[in-house]
Symmetry: C2
Subunit: 367 residues, 2 copies
Amino acid sequence: MTDVPPHRGQPSPPLPRVRLVDVAREAGLSKTTISAALNGTGRLSPEVREKARETARRMGYRPNAAARRLRAGRARLIGYVVGEFADAPWNFLESPYFARLTAATAATSLRRGYAVVLLPAGSLQSEWADLSLDAVVVADPVADDPVVEDLLAARIPVFSDRSVEGRPGAYWVDVDAGGAVRGALDHVREQGARRPVVVVPDSTTRFHTEVFAAHEAWCAAHGVPVRVVRAGGPGNGPVIRAVETALTGDLAADSAADRARPDALLVVAEASPPLVLDATRRLGYGVPGDLLLVCVSEDVTAEHTQPPVTTLSLRPEAIAEAGIETLVAVLEHGDREAAGVLVPTRLDVRASSVRPAQAEYTSRPPT
Amino acid sequence: MTDVPPHRGQPSPPLPRVRLVDVAREAGLSKTTISAALNGTGRLSPEVREKARETARRMGYRPNAAARRLRAGRARLIGYVVGEFADAPWNFLESPYFARLTAATAATSLRRGYAVVLLPAGSLQSEWADLSLDAVVVADPVADDPVVEDLLAARIPVFSDRSVEGRPGAYWVDVDAGGAVRGALDHVREQGARRPVVVVPDSTTRFHTEVFAAHEAWCAAHGVPVRVVRAGGPGNGPVIRAVETALTGDLAADSAADRARPDALLVVAEASPPLVLDATRRLGYGVPGDLLLVCVSEDVTAEHTQPPVTTLSLRPEAIAEAGIETLVAVLEHGDREAAGVLVPTRLDVRASSVRPAQAEYTSRPPT
DNA sequence: GCCTTGTGCGGGAACGTTCCCGCATCAATA
DNA sequence: TATTGATGCGGGAACGTTCCCGCACAAGGC
């Protein structure tokens, strides 16, 4: 243990921050020279440059961000707003996907010299117009999102993790929804599943419509009936209820064979993996014995269930990184061509979707 | 479906933003008058004030934040940094407590006219010194946190959700840890539990040491042996292992009676409620039949387990609200006396901690 | 020795806002 | 009618930085 640091003496002198002119006076140079020395610009002799830097360092000089911004015309601030959840504007962070996307956005931005400002979901720019943000990240916009329209009308560049096509000023990174669905379904098929059922949110986001379409195409290609249940809304409750519907076999089916219990479950809606697993058990399924389970989720609890749950990650970190790169390129060099990057997903195979012979754990439902 | 909005014509004219002088010229008034009209200051006739406002609105005037900040000397920016998780600087948002604290901090700040900037956990101000933040919220600082020391040395006001006593420039809101523990233990005792066991993280934060002390005092007062297990670290893995230790009865105990299986479990470390519930089941406990379960957690999944899990909420929204209130008071009026508010916790009683006769659900362990 | 070219540094304007004053105008009072 | 005070509005400085330009001086070519 070190000593407790002494309390700082002065209660609070008005704290005259050291400015450029103060450094200039101290160093016997002009503010122009100091500025050029610190920014690495201008024509200066090495000695003068070093002296300026040394003096600034010694005096603890820190440039005034507001003045710099005023002069430069850019605030180096990026807003972050979520399209959905407009009725509960701040709950989005409780979703692991958004939590990680938010964190990764902030991290990448900061590395590129931009600060990220958190905004209430679904809010319009009039509510925070006085922040004068350089750009805004709109996470998961709905179709024809009013938030996006509002920002573009105000001529604020927009970046999104979903397609926003045909809008000048909008840039995006897209998730390979089709590839993700095919990958997950191929995986459970390889593991022996023949009657997979899919749970998808009843949402108009492009991701989910693509998931829907890819699923139908896959089923057609493999001669498998389309078994899908749409979850009524976001949140664990509706998704769990959809899972229950999917597993109790109330699905419309063409033949008797199709009414057989499903042997694989792909949950595309974000829900807590332990809760999904519990629901399967309550309905009498052993995982992975009777049912192979894959969840589209970023939730770390998937690793800690027994058996651990296979997840399909949308890789929010990669999305944020690619997105901020393009956004910064647009802001700083006016590259207007960089929209539309496609980020592949990642399947983390765990015991819940591996055929029992190979599985480490097999949970049995209560008898 | 509405028509797709037409693409905006101009690719991007240099976008000469409308300034105060532009509004002034248009309205035939001076910039001073416009400024006063919009800010509600000065002595102006109602007609002129209205005309100024109308013109500004019509021209789409939006004040330049940088200029305003430069003039005012304050950036109206508040940083948000987490003390813990320094080795994984961005994971904190995946914890429901931090997710909600972050969101509530941003929401309250924005209402008071301040924007919240997300910062990497454990980072020092030298890494983002050029943001010139008015203040920084340090969530869950460790004892003698270097982040706090660093900020105070740079004379940046600090607000925290944990005590930071004896540091001028530091303000905090505290959680009533003792009351929380007593409340939870009283609750399970009322429900008939006589051998409660507590899981606490092995951490030096004031909250956890207070929990520890309050637990000991409560046990002494009720003549109950102190049963406590310390979790090795944050995250679900260590906490689940601690729960397993707590329930398998490897605790040091003074008498044979004390070695009896516990009949209540209070998990103070933040872990996923479904995972904790699963762990109890794997060890052969029925909840709430054999074991009353209370988790200190903000996780919404607690409502969706069967049985739903009783949680003790630290009420991050209340913490953030009280904290930002005092911080804004300090920044704007220099109130230096407002440190140390105490926020009570809230016990959300659900089936997992209610004596079976009254319980709606009782989960049975696999036989 | 004069003109050109290049180097090293400083003066001063500009970014857009807010706020301190000062100058009118006008009503109320002596 | 002159004096005061209040009211309504505008001029101009200031916030701290960057950047354009200009000036002084040195070196090189004829």
